[in-house]
């Protein structure tokens, strides 16, 4: 469904992603791990059209999306959450979700259904900025649910949450999206990746180092090498 071929992204001469190739089948759930600066968020930004790519192609269901604007990529079925929550802080909870629903006739009903799925329907009229951080995380997930995406890019959805909140958010992501929705999950918490993603990718310095079953990832010496800075046995 998502095919990335030879993707390169540069910032002022620094290669944030280096010739990355990746195939994500429909319904796949893949963890994306790696230390800060390894290119995880840049990968998400490139897929969602928020940064220009320097080389390679990104295809969604056979259609090249690398040249599309972010709103067009969203319309083609890509939803996104951010490491730093990006809600419309001065809009109500339901107004945060409504733009994601699109032009359906029962837009408000669809928005409320998405809020119900994350347990925020009762707070529909509260300003998003007045929610707790945990609720803001859940609202961002509701917004993604309302988009009915074919691909969800979840960028550290548990960052800043307690362990129980973290568990709930991972469970929520696991249950709220259909089996046909592919999920890429950036996480530093390996346990969270293990709970949701049978497959994982390890990035380092913009390169894809390991693409393996998550159950094997903990034992892979390259994981420790990447995180602790020792020489990589490439």
């Amino acid at each position: 469904m998502l095919e990335i071929d030879d993707l390169t992204v540069r910032f002022d001469g620094i290669e944030a992603l280096r010739r990355l190739t990746l195939v994500v089948p429909p319904g796949a759930r893949i963890g994306v791990i790696g230390p800060n600066g390894s290119g995880k968020t840049t990968l998400f930004n490139a897929i969602s059209g928020l940064v220009a790519i320097a080389g390679g192609t990104i295809r969604l269901n056979g259609r090249a999306i690398s040249h599309l604007a972010p709103h067009q990529i969203a319309a083609s079925g890509v939803a996104r959450t951010f490491q730093s929550v990006r809600l419309f802080q001065r809009l109500s909870v339901v107004d945060n979700v409504l733009p994601a629903v699109g032009t359906t006739r029962d837009a408000r009903q669809a928005a409320l259904a998405a809020l119900d799925a994350v347990g925020l329907a009762a707070r529909r009229d509260t300003l998003a900025g007045d929610l707790s951080f945990y609720d803001q995380r859940r609202l961002e997930i509701a917004r993604a649910i309302a988009q009915r995406p074919r691909l969800l890019l979840a960028d550290e959805p548990t960052a800043g949450l307690s362990q129980s909140e973290c568990d709930h958010v991972i469970e929520l992501i696991g249950n709220a999206f259909g089996a046909e929705t592919a999920i890429l999950l950036i996480e530093h918490k390996i346990a969270a990746v293990e709970a949701l993603c049978p497959r994982s990718m390890l990035l380092s310095e913009g390169r894809l180092i390991v693409d393996a079953a998550t159950s094997d990832m903990r034992r892979d010496p390259r994981l420790a090498n990447v995180y602790f800075g020792t020489q990589l046995p490439l």
Binding site: A74, R86, L87, Q89, R90, A100
Partner: protein, 301 residues
């Protein structure tokens, strides 16, 4: 000074302030979605008014037709400004947008003087009736129309923002443009439509101002930029309610300044007020949160 003088000055200021309020609404809409200052906003209005004036002088167009020409002219020139000064530059290049809008200010003024070389040009009056008498107070009917139009447009803009799909998109873009794009909002189109809407509102303001004066010079461009800017800052960046309050308050303050200190210091009071505001009350009456957010965005960029 008697209580009647005080009331009359306040009433006069309120009426003039209505035009400032309309200018500030347009300014604040553009600032809200662009997070950048459009110095060509006043000259955009001037261009619309000059096109309407040309239709009046050359073709003898009736007042209603002049109004339509001014609104459409201002909207189209606003689109031109958006394409040249804002669309090509990202939010990170605020200075480039501001300088480009200054360049278009000069260009539009020059174009206007070519279109109508005379310094002073006649403009069709809105209403030629005698002032209304309310007890000891006098009230110009055209000023009353200006106040009514301001309240009507403010209500319509508030409805648009609160109740329509476009309004929701505008509010989303104002709040968090990157997230708006991610959920499927065509941010550039929303910015363009907001720009055109704000310019059309400016066109209404320009028409009302020129019609109540019965004449127009190209200085209306600079006048509209400065008055709209001060009124917006007074009310608060990015707040429609603040823009209305700021415009009305500026009009009232100017009217009293003119009475107490003389007409020659009226504008100095407005500019002095702007400096005081920027120094001690940068958020304005209702826009403190908007300013905080803008500064936060600036830090992120």
């Amino acid at each position: 000074m008697t209580a009647v003088d005080l009331a009359q000055n306040t009433l006069d200021g309120l009426m003039v302030g209505a035009s400032y309020a309309l200018l500030a609404v347009g300014f604040t809409l553009i600032f809200g979605v662009m997070r950048r200052l459009n110095l060509a906003y006043g000259p955009t209005i001037m261009a619309g008014v000059y096109l309407g004036t040309a239709a009046f002088i050359s073709l003898g167009a009736p007042t209603l037709v002049v109004l339509v020409v001014v609104i459409i002219g201002a909207a189209l020139v606003g689109l031109y400004v958006e394409r040249l000064c804002f669309r090509p530059f990202g939010e990170g290049a605020r200075a480039a947008s501001m300088v480009a809008s200054f360049a278009l200010w000069m260009q539009l003024e020059e174009a206007a003087t070519h279109l109508l070389p005379q310094h002073m040009n006649p403009f069709p009056p809105l209403l030629a009736t005698q002032p209304l008498e309310i007890g000891p107070l006098l009230l110009r009917a055209d000023h009353l129309v200006m106040l009514a139009a301001t309240l009507l447009i403010a209500g319509a803009v508030t409805y648009l923002l609160a109740r329509t799909k476009l309004g929701l998109a505008i509010r989303a873009v104002i709040d968090q443009p990157r997230a708006a794009a991610i959920v499927g909002i065509h941010v550039e189109r929303v910015m363009m439509l907001t720009f055109v809407l704000a310019s059309a509102i400016g066109g209404v303001a320009g028409f009302l101002i020129a019609a109540t004066d019965g004449q127009v010079t190209h200085m209306i461009g600079m006048w509209a930029t400065t008055k709209g800017l001060v009124a917006m800052m007074l009310g608060g960046l990015g707040s429609v309610k603040g823009a209305i309050a700021g415009g009305l308050l500026l009009g009232i303050l100017e009217a009293h300044a003119q009475w107490f200190l003389g007409p020659q210091v009226r504008d100095m009071v407005a500019w002095g007020l702007l400096f005081v505001l920027l120094a001690f009350w940068p958020g304005g009456l209702m826009g403190a949160k908007a300013l905080d957010r803008t500064m936060a965005v600036g830090r992120r960029v």
